[in-house]
């Protein structure tokens, strides 16, 4: 497969997954506010910006972190490279360069999502926005469904899959990190009813609430951390995503230049995770752990670039 094309298919998939995650986080936060009867100017919106990792950019360009400004920044801000608008635009530009590789329906789905985004970006009402998030998530499901059900498991699929899994692992970890350190610094609230609602919302934003309940029945931050980081069964947990990406990289071995660093880096990272457990991580500091994890995830991304895309 052409290196340029492999690179595009990887990023097409990453950007779509990113857009999907931003839509999830925003939507769940909105519902959380309703549950907690908080007003719309609440401080509960800023953590969404922190999750995206673009807080510096936000602070420079926005005065307040209320619902309106946070959602604008995350959704339709053309200057924010990780806004949903920009992610979908770039996913489509990448998809355009791999049109000959992906099934027609996948291209049409991205294209439709792009036009939907364009037309929504001209509306101003917040109520419309939540409809839009729902549509973004549904488009994400359709796209992934098409990818799983209509694409041969050749190199193109594997690159798309690696992109999706790495992006998802990154976003799940960020969500956990931000929730843990910004939303709940106050000791007296830990394990309170308020806490259960908050962590329930976290689970919900990654579609994990029902699956979590079947395993743990009641909600507390220790079990949520364990579930989101280490569940081998749940398809959005960090460990599951990494194992899945590692599997795809393994099957890409024949597509790879000799002495490729991608698998080595990937194996190092998955092994570290397999050796860890939630209790120790919480004791040693979750934030430090996730910081380290994200550093290593970047190394994997760079190694993938050197192994496959660089020419």
């Amino acid at each position: 497969m052409l290196s340029r094309v492999a690179n595009s298919i990887y990023w097409m998939s990453r950007y779509l997954e990113r857009a999907d995650n931003v839509a999830r986080f925003a939507d769940v936060n909105f519902h959380l506010m309703l549950d907690l009867s908080l007003d719309r100017d609440s401080t509960q919106w800023y953590p969404l910006v922190a999750t995206s990792g673009d807080d510096e950019d936000f602070n420079k360009r926005y005065k307040t972190a209320d619902e309106q400004s946070v959602l604008k920044f995350l959704t339709f801000d053309e200057k924010n490279p990780n806004s949903i608008l920009q992610c979908i635009f770039r996913a489509r530009e990448n998809a355009r360069t791999v049109r000959e590789i992906i099934p027609v329906e996948m291209w049409e789905k991205i294209n439709e999502l792009y036009h939907l985004t364009q037309s929504h970006s001209r509306k101003r009402s917040l109520a419309d926005l939540y409809d839009y998030y729902m549509q973004v998530r549904q488009a994400g499901h359709l796209f992934t469904g098409l990818m799983y059900n209509t694409m041969s498991r050749s190199a193109g699929w594997q690159f798309a899959h690696v992109g999706q899994m790495l992006e998802r692992a990154d976003k799940t970890a960020r969500l956990l990190d931000v929730k843990y350190f910004i939303l709940l610094p106050r000791g007296e609230q830990i394990d309170s009813a308020f806490d259960a609602v908050q962590w329930g919302a976290v689970l919900k934003s990654v579609n994990a609430l029902e699956m979590y309940r079947q395993q743990y029945h009641s909600i507390n931050y220790r079990d949520v951390t364990d579930f989101l980081l280490f569940s081998q069964a749940f398809p959005r947990s960090v460990l599951h995503c990494l194992d899945s990406a590692a599997g795809a990289l393994k099957s890409l071995a024949p597509e790879c230049k000799p002495a490729s660093p991608a698998r080595t880096e990937m194996d190092t990272l998955t092994q570290t995770l397999h050796r860890s457990d939630a209790a120790h991580i919480i004791a040693d500091g979750l934030h430090e752990f996730i910081d380290g994890f994200q550093y290593n995830l970047n190394l994997v991304d760079e190694a993938i670039f050197r192994s496959f895309f660089e020419t």
Partner: protein
């Protein structure tokens, strides 16, 4: 009753023999359209546009920051070509491509046709399309023009005339396939009734054409499509064709020449390329030979081509037979190489380089169509009867300054086809471009691109100037015996 009041206004019409009387083969289609209300026709038109929009074959509206995108205008009323007309067109095209191919081979090698005085040598050597670096080239299997799209128009006598041969990088085939896919959803019942011949196997034919020229010993050749990139206006067509054949779509930067071979940069390292269907113009393909500043091309690719390590479709240099002044000589070219009379008609052409012709053209600018010999897309053109005195004066000056660069033709009365417009159905002028492939033999896809001038009275069908397209139905009817056998597998 949308067609009840339709008027042909004295033009040759593609669906009607006379007002109220359809051509025999067109009757079921005319009845179907007539049975639909204007509202229903508009609903279907909208549905067709939505399908095309969703398929993403759109272009950006120039200067629009909001990223508005548009489709190429499409009209749901198809154009029809009877089996009898098609049979003649097909034979005419095959003869033409056969002769032009021999002509190009001769021009870049022995130049017998010049030595025999059939064409003045200066007509060739003064052409911007004559590429000196192609002298002595002998493309694999002797084929230069693998892919071509012959432009025809129909005059008031009902005869088809060749307007251009388009032997370089003709575009538009993806519209033929997409328009058909759309119309099968919009007017499904018509296809069986009218025995419309399929076009969907074009990708197969194209693949076989390209495989045919693979270097010897390459049983499973690495065939690719080469595009200038996603910002090229025909990019979606390039991607579409790569997809139809299941082959990689590469850009110049994906390819590199080493050891006089062409390689593509893959995730697993360099992989040799055997056949390139290139959609980059001659001048840009190799900065070592042609335009030095080209960043689209691959330095050294011509060296590989000469050595035979890679095949190109089309061969570089074919543009010489596309020069609009050379066009005037095509009937003589056919006679010279094949010893046959032309089956398809040329349009009478005045060559401004020749004194007598030029004098006539300058006298009759208000009646003639003047064209720049090396421009297409409706650019550099004067349509005499619709021009102002100032425009005529401007062209007179241009012609006097550079006579070699202009030709003139009588204004043809282009045929019309019923077309859905705001107020109902009206006649609009159309042309016709069928596509041909020259592999083991010459194959013409039974269909083609019908371009339609959507502006009332306009004769310019180019998309850059308000033109749209229609699906084209070549009928497999019984008015020609053995029509099916004339298609090559």
């Amino acid at each position: 009753m949308t067609l009840e009041s339709y008027q042909t206004n004295g033009f040759f019409d593609e669906l009607f023999k006379a007002d109220g009387v359809p051509h025999s083969g067109a009757r079921p289609l005319v009845e179907q359209i007539d049975s639909l209300s204007r509202k229903e026709l508009q609903r279907r038109q909208k549905a067709a546009e939505d399908i095309l929009y969703q398929s993403g074959n759109t272009f950006n509206v120039y200067g629009d920051k909001k990223g508005t995108e548009k489709i190429l205008p499409f009209d749901i009323i198809p154009r029809m070509v009877s089996a009898r007309d098609w049979d003649k067109l097909e034979r005419g095209i095959r003869q033409r491509i056969h002769a032009l191919n021999l002509f190009i081979q001769d021009i870049y090698n022995d130049q017998k046709i010049l030595k025999d005085g059939v064409i003045p040598a200066e007509m060739i050597f003064s052409s911007a399309c004559y590429l000196k670096p192609c002298e002595g080239l002998k493309p694999p299997k002797g084929v230069w023009t693998h892919i071509s799209g012959t432009d025809f128009v129909r005059d008031s006598d009902g005869e088809f005339y060749v307007l251009e041969d388009n032997l370089r990088c003709p575009s538009g085939i993806s519209y033929v396939l997409e328009n058909r896919a759309v119309l099968k959803r919009i007017l499904p019942s018509m296809f069986q009734t009218m025995k419309v011949r399929p076009v969907s196997d074009y990708g197969d034919h194209l693949y076989r054409t390209l495989k045919h020229i693979a270097p010897d010993g390459k049983d499973d050749p690495n065939i690719i499509v080469l595009t200038p990139g996603i910002y090229n206006s025909a990019y979606f067509e390039h991607a579409y064709l790569a997809q139809q054949m299941g082959v990689p779509l590469a850009q110049g930067s994906d390819l590199v020449v080493e050891d006089d071979k062409v390689w593509m940069r893959t995730t697993a390292g360099l992989k040799q390329v055997d056949v390139i269907y290139r959609r980059i113009d001659d001048e840009f393909i190799d900065p070592e030979i042609f335009r030095k500043e080209s960043v689209l091309g691959i330095p050294g690719i011509m060296r590989c081509y000469r050595k035979g390590t890679v095949a190109l479709a089309n061969a570089p240099g074919t543009g010489i037979a596309d020069d609009k002044a050379i066009y005037a000589y095509v009937p003589r070219i056919i006679k010279y190489y094949l010893g046959e009379a032309p089956i398809s008609n040329n349009v009478k052409t005045f060559i401004c380089e020749e004194d007598a012709d030029r004098a006539y053209v300058l006298e009759n600018l208000d009646k003639l169509v003047v064209k720049a010999v090396n421009l297409s897309g409706g650019y550099g053109m004067l349509i005499g009867p619709k021009s102002t005195k100032a425009e005529q004066k401007q062209f007179a000056a241009l012609i006097k300054a550079k006579p070699r660069e202009y030709i003139a033709q009588p204004t043809l009365s282009l045929s019309r086809c019923p077309t859905l417009v705001g107020s109902g159905i009206e006649g609009r002028h159309v042309d016709f471009r069928p596509y041909s492939l020259y592999g083991e033999e010459i194959f013409t896809l039974p269909g083609g691109l019908t371009r339609v001038a959507l502006k009332k009275g306009s004769l310019v069908v180019n998309s850059s100037q308000g033109g749209g397209s229609k699906d084209t139905w070549v009928l497999g009817g019984s008015d020609v015996t053995g029509a099916e056998e004339t298609t090559h597998a």
